[in-house]
Assembly symmetry: C2
Homo-oligomer: 213 residues x 2
DNA sequence: TAGATTGTTAATCGATTAACAATC
DNA sequence: TAGATTGTTAATCGATTAACAATC
């Protein structure tokens, strides 16, 4: 009953997928074998109707009268998200934030392997973070070509981020995780995920005004 | 022509405000005094119509036949976002990510002042990050009561985040910036901004499948 | 005044929710 | 079989875009 996956899925749906994945993983750990859209709705906070609509974008994962098999659904959503694969990633900018990202343990579990770190600071070039060497910026090009790098994490300051991006894109990088507070210009076939930290704080302060809640 | 600001603004609009603020700041730096919705549209990438709709949620900031005064608009959006104020913040969890947040220079410029850091690790309690002391968890309650703390940054692991939250909420914390990979349960008057890092990576890997773009 | 551009209403588009036939 | 729950269509809701009168 698998639908062709060529039809465009809306961004709203895609952004819910990691949350489904997280909750299903938890259910799996708890040894729960099956779940209905209604039960899932109660723990995840989306409507049962939305849950069924979401899953049906990718084909029929459920069974009438029964619900969904937790493990199957978990595995399927993982596949849709592409985390059944393995990705080599690089980090550019090993400042405080870059170091935190490099030290983050969990990414490897989902197939995101940090293969190289790059910085301009001579004092840290040559050192290792989590057993990954910090290399000089000039090496990026050669490294990307030789190591099948899929994703770049940009942790440089806002003023250098676009320049770095313009280096990465021609090398074939198709996914950028951008922590710099700037909107990167990239061609259509490149995906950028922004973590604009200050924007989050502004959203929080917006709601600190009691009237706005 | 100022509208009452009591009508609910949609989340989609609120999330665009920091971006407007950022672009207006840039224009201001460039010495640009006025801008039309059409010109702003070209640099920010929203439609001119959306820009005018967005601004009109908060009252008439523009002038027919002229456009918008860059500085006025910048200041007004800053006020709407509440970043004309000063907020004391605390950080809970001084691991790699927590340290990166504590070391992040820019937050103070927008009125977000890190007043205290808390951790359970005896080895770092008593040390300082950016001149802010790391204190034991037991002190949170007293510290929040004495220091008019508005916002808490949660950088502990997922398994402790809810427990910390349950401590913070009764102390009057009304805004939580959550870096743990878990959805926090809070009362309606508390705002949570999540930075679910792994979710970002999953979104990126989703789009690495060429067909999905 | 004439031209430009806002503020605002109306139209469209897309996403969510409701309903229910299909079916396990 | 009867009950449960999906898959899917239809209805609703909300957000974006288009259009244009108001007005600087």
């Amino acid at each position: 009953m698998q639908k062709a996956t060529t039809n465009k899925i809306s961004m709203a749906v895609i952004r819910r997928l990691p949350k489904y994945h997280r909750y299903l993983r938890e259910l799996l750990y708890q040894g729960i074998k099956r779940i209905s859209s209604k039960e899932l709705s109660e723990i995840i906070g989306f409507t049962a109707s939305q849950i069924r609509q979401d899953f049906n974008n990718f084909g029929g994962f459920g069974q009438q009268g029964y619900g969904y098999n937790v493990e199957d659904l978990y595995v399927e959503i993982g596949k849709i998200l592409g985390i059944d694969g393995h990705y080599n990633t690089i980090l550019i900018g090993a400042g405080h934030l870059g170091q935190a990202i490099a030290n983050y343990a969990g990414f490897d579990d989902y197939g995101f392997h940090l293969a190289g770190i790059f910085d301009i600071d001579k004092n840290i070039i040559g050192s290792k973070i989590q057993n990954v060497e910090v290399m000089p910026m000039e090496n990026i090009s050669k490294f990307v070509k030789n190591n099948n790098v899929s994703i770049a994490y940009i942790c440089v300051n806002a003023s250098s981020a676009q320049k770095i991006t313009d280096t990465l894109v021609p090398l074939g990088i198709r996914a950028i995780w951008n922590f710099a507070s700037v909107d990167l210009k990239v061609p259509d076939n490149v995906t950028v995920e922004n973590v604009h930290l200050i924007d989050h704080l502004m959203t929080l302060s917006y709601f600190l005004d009691e009237q706005k809640k």
